[in-house]
């Protein structure tokens, strides 16, 4: 997307485009951007990409650096940490703290990620009024009709497994929407008492779950600015947590279930997210150069080859190269020999191919009929 000069190794991070005031549409993309900004500020470019199939793992974010690529957040973090002159964000943590941090990052990615996905993809009002229009505005023309639904369906198994997929009242609303698409008047169905109660109860259950999770991390944060106060700068855990909070607070959700919860009861977590963001982007000029996403119609993106992982290549030594050459010679020798044998056989047996035209066929049929009559006469004569 940005390879002006393929010789220069240019580090490009491909993420979902931003929406309203969110840095990117996906929390892990935001986390990758914040991590790169803290680790290698000013040495990378951001490309907004709305086609996850361009990534080697099928998901955004991914990173390209010349001929290397790294996909998914842990791989990006590992790659960037091993670059020359990169600042290791977790350098000052002890080994025990690093282990705890790894577990907590997994917990945040799993639980907080599920809550954000529930908010953006599972809640009916949010999906139809916020998330889907946002996705449609980012995608080019043929994709914008079917890709948002596919993305929503891809979140469904995970959210169903953790019991966060849908609340009862909203499923009924979904069916109503589908049925009344082609009718001119959409009848607003009044919710009956028990349905309303079930819906409120389900919402309360989800809110309770979010409260338990957020209480845990508020307690861990305490009064400090970041999770590891003796470092005075954000670590990977801060970045991942802040990215998810940032998604919840900066996107304009139509049904502000968790946004209200955060604003009312957890001001310290919102302050934490703002602190991480301002640490990474101290002034508006510190944003990295950005390449906008391509909204033109692309036929190639409609037919992606099913991706399979690249086969593990063993490092080629001279012996293996010689052996490969020998096998190649034998393979082509065999094919050549068999072709030669077919040609020689045809020449030796004198096989010829005749093309019989239609007149000849009719004559043959008449001849056959004639011979049949002769046979019958001969039979009659013999019988008589």
């Amino acid at each position: 997307m940005s390879q002006i000069n393929p010789g220069s190794s240019h580090l490009v991070l491909h993420i979902w485009p931003p929406h309203v005031s969110a840095l990117s549409f996906d929390p892990l993309c935001t986390a990758a951007l914040l991590y790169l900004q803290l680790s290698i500020p000013g040495r990378f470019t951001v490309a907004h990409c709305a086609n996850p199939d361009a990534s080697p793992s099928g998901q955004l974010p991914y990173l390209t650096h010349g001929l290397h690529s790294a996909a998914t957040l842990p791989a990006i973090i590992k790659y960037v940490t091993h670059l020359g002159r990169a600042r290791d964000v977790d350098a000052a943590l002890g080994p025990l703290e690093k282990a705890q941090s790894a577990a907590r990052i997994a917990h945040v990615q799993a639980e907080y990620g599920d809550l954000v996905a529930h908010m953006a993809y599972a809640l009916h009002t949010n999906w139809w009024k916020t998330t889907r229009p946002a996705l449609v505005s980012m995608l080019p023309v043929p994709q914008r009709y079917y890709v948002p639904h596919r993305m929503r369906e891809s979140y469904r198994p995970r959210l169903e497994a953790v019991d966060l997929w849908g609340t009862p009242g909203e499923e009924v609303e979904e069916e109503e929407e589908k049925r009344s698409t082609f009718q001119r008047e959409k009848k607003k169905r009044q919710e009956t008492g028990p349905e309303k109660f079930k819906r409120t109860f389900a919402r309360e259950r989800v809110l309770e779950r979010a409260r338990v999770f957020l209480d845990m991390y508020t307690k861990l944060l305490g009064d400090h600015q970041f999770f590891y106060p003796h470092l005075a700068q954000p670590t990977t855990l801060d970045i991942v947590f802040a990215a998810h909070t940032h998604m919840l607070t900066s996107l304009p959700f139509a049904d502000p279930l968790f946004t209200d919860l955060l604003n009312d009861s957890y001001p310290s977590l919102i302050a934490h997210a703002d602190a991480v963001k301002s640490f990474a982007f101290p002034d508006p000029a510190s944003h990295p150069p950005t390449i906008q996403s391509d909204l033109r119609l692309s036929i190639k993106s409609l037919f992606t080859v099913p991706a399979h992982p690249a086969p593990r290549r063993q490092p080629s030594s001279p012996e293996t190269l010689a052996e490969e050459r020998r096998y190649k010679l034998m393979r082509w020798g065999w094919i050549g020999l068999s072709a030669l044998a077919v040609v020689a056989y045809i020449r030796w047996t004198g096989l010829t191919i005749q093309f019989v035209s239609e007149d000849d066929e009719e004559e043959e049929e008449e001849e056959e009929a004639a011979t049949l009559e002769e046979i019958e006469e001969a039979v009659d004569e013999a019988a008589a």
């Binding site: 199939d53 996909a71 842990p74 997994a106 990615q109 596919r150 169903e160 992982p309």
Partner: protein, 294 residues
């Protein structure tokens, strides 16, 4: 007076119906009756070597076995000839209680009611659930998420790359939605045919290298956290987290995939810990063919 108003079947109809008589037979006594159990019986999936072992080959069943054993419940019988379709909620393990405990027939408990049963048998846990303090209890949730996400995804993932087309062998078929690998990866994986292509979505594109990288980091942090402690997170007594970690370590060490197994065998403290806990867990269960001790 009732006979005046009663409706009688008209004669021609009665003659017609007599052509189709109704036969009634006495009830057939069923020859098979389930044998009553005399000890709590845990229904699990079969162990790897059924003649020799009592620990299940399935991670979920092993988790609950380890939990019951480490809570202090002893002398629990086992059976593994029940298929998962016959279990409550379609998921093993289930616990069958004998009739003596409850009046009437024996009851069957699903997996999520096992902690309550263990509480009734050996005494309830306090609010800290056996952990050293509040911070340790909160940290244990993070470790559970790490194990059930990153490590379980590496275990469930089939070793052959062509199998990511999801035509698995019969014994590896995902038994329920809870065990499919898509539910364990945190950003959900894209379909194999591509998210934006016109081809209808089919299969799952699982990035092997990403799953392996996360798995290696998880095992490294696990080993670092255990250090030389007796139980995880510095607890004095075994907790639910120890049961979960033991189940995963045991399944990893008997896994056929080399990269997955070598990662744990390299860490001596994890292997030694697993061996010690194994002896404790085995002691709590009774094989199905041994006679019960009086």
């Amino acid at each position: 007076m009732s006979s005046r108003f009663s409706l009688a079947l008209p004669a021609p109809l009665r003659h017609f119906f007599a052509l189709f008589p109704l036969y009634e037979y006495p009830p057939v006594p069923a020859p098979y009756a389930a044998r009553p159990v005399d000890a709590p019986t845990l229904w699990i999936r079969a162990p790897r070597v059924p003649t020799d072992d009592v620990l299940s080959a399935d991670v979920e069943c092993l988790k609950w076995q380890a939990y019951l054993a480490l809570r202090g419940c002893h002398d629990i019988a086992l059976r593994w000839d029940v298929s998962a379709d016959g279990a409550l909620e379609g998921q093993l393990p289930n616990l069958q209680l004998p009739a003596a405990a409850t009046p009437g027939e024996s009851t069957l408990l699903p997996a999520h009611l096992l902690p309550g049963w263990a509480d009734a048998r050996v005494g309830a846990l306090d609010l800290l659930e056996g952990y050293a303090d509040d911070a340790a209890r909160d940290e244990s949730r993070a470790w559970v998420a790490l194990m059930e996400g990153n490590v379980h995804a590496a275990l469930v993932r089939p070793p052959v790359f062509l199998a990511c087309l999801r035509r698995a062998r019969a014994d590896e078929r995902p038994r329920s939605a809870h065990h499919a690998v898509e539910t364990m990866l945190s950003p959900p994986p894209a379909p194999l045919t591509g998210l934006s292509s016109l081809i209808p979505p089919y299969g799952t594109h699982i990035d092997r290298s990403a799953v392996e990288l996360q798995y290696k980091e998880a095992i490294a942090s696990l080993s670092e956290r255990l250090g030389t402690d007796k139980w995880f997170l510095g607890s004095d007594a075994p907790t639910a987290l120890d049961a979960l970690i033991f189940a995963y370590l045991h399944c990893i060490l008997h896994c056929k995939d080399n990269t997955v197994r070598i990662e744990v065998t390299r860490r001596v403290n994890l292997v030694a810990w697993e061996r010690r806990v194994q002896a404790l867990v085995r002691a709590a269960f009774r094989r199905p063919d041994t006679p019960s001790e009086s």
